[in-house]
Subunit: 200 residues, 2 copies
DNA sequence: TTCGTTTTTTGATAATTGTCAAAAACAATA
DNA sequence: TATTGTTTTTGACAATTATCAAAAAACGAA
């Protein structure tokens, strides 16, 4: 009966995270059970913020469904720092890693279903299941590669080139995020982005 | 006699790397010996390239002394992607992690003394000494944080602001790298950078 | 030192992008 | 459906930065 319950939980709630992780390492039965035990289900309504600037961001949030963003302010103006969608993790990585206050707000752009894993839980996991250390490393590597690609796009590309790249690699976000959010993510004003769009 | 020799090697050649790593994890005697055994000493003259675009970058290079940079081309023009100096690692991280061809050249700006650790050696190390998995993760995290800071500086900062930030955080590079290298790193032309300098 | 090469500076001009303001389009809701 | 608030578009203009060309300065090798 209990085993059956675990399986139901697994199928309904945790499947996407485990699937995601098992593409990185082989997940033993014991680790799977532990992951299910420690992870916490969260629901966010569109517009809600889960982390506010200045707070510690002590968790990473695996996105089962929905779309989130991180943003900060530069002289009153909102600047979107990243988007994260289904099967990606959302967190202020800087705050999480360095245990410093978050420099960004984290907000749901759409209704979201998340799985929360706290920093301490993760550290514990690293100790008990050394193979998860590899997950941490590889996830970080993947995030690094994404950032690197992003820098290559920011440096010396024109506004138009950046938008073109974005609309190829993240085409679904064109519908799901607002013009202003996308513009600030690309490092341009929304007026400029609107004009680029118009002439294409 | 042999132990004595090992100690001499350690002191003369490998000290900086071990010191650097031991700030991250505790390094056992066995790991220390292994690190000394596997790491390879390299000398580079100013201007020499150690990795060329298109090649696999299968190693990371710990810089004992000197200054290096990674750069690629955008329509004939050299764009410096990073600088790395003493006690930092140089590599095309993307190529190294993803096992893809390097998109950048890696070059010595000054005469350099390096310690090379190959990808396969490192993977092996991860398996034999699981605690090194943590080194890999934490190094990656540190690199991630640096990139993140860099993006915050590229996005929506004026050329002048970027240069000011650079001249505070990397003041020594002002002397050691050329104007053109710094300018392209900051995503501006060298003429513009020269003018910014003049008016300060 | 001197010559040749590379790097940096300066000038004139053009292109890109930002700013501010207002209108239009769209969405949410009473 | 009318109302209100938000997002997007458009216009006029200004600021920033790039481009191209040439001069000046700095550097290295013979």
């Amino acid at each position: 009966m209990d085993a059956c319950f675990t399986i139901i939980i697994f199928v309904i709630l945790k499947m996407p995270l485990l699937k995601h992780l098992s593409s990185i390492i082989t997940i033993s039965k014991a680790l799977e059970t532990e992951l299910i035990r420690i992870s916490k289900q969260i629901t966010l309504a569109k517009g809600e913020q889960i982390i506010t600037i200045g707070e510690r961001c002590n968790s990473i949030y695996f996105i089962k469904s929905g779309l989130m963003r991180g943003f900060y302010f530069d002289e009153e103006k909102e600047i979107t720092n990243w988007f994260a969608q289904e099967n990606e993790f959302a967190t202020c990585f800087y705050s999480f890693i360095a245990n410093k206050p978050s420099f960004e707000n984290i907000q749901a752009i759409e209704n979201c279903e998340l799985i929360e894993i706290s920093h301490s839980t993760l550290q514990n996991l690293y100790t008990v299941f050394p193979e998860t250390e590899r997950i941490g490393r590889i996830l970080t590597e993947n995030y690094y590669i994404k950032l690197e690609e992003r820098i290559l796009n920011l440096q010396f590309k024109t506004a138009k080139e950046r938008y073109e790249k974005f609309s190829i690699t993240k085409s679904d976000l064109l519908q799901r995020a607002s013009l202003g959010q996308i513009a600030s993510y690309l490092g341009i004003t929304q007026e400029t982005l609107s004009r680029i769009r118009a002439e294409m």
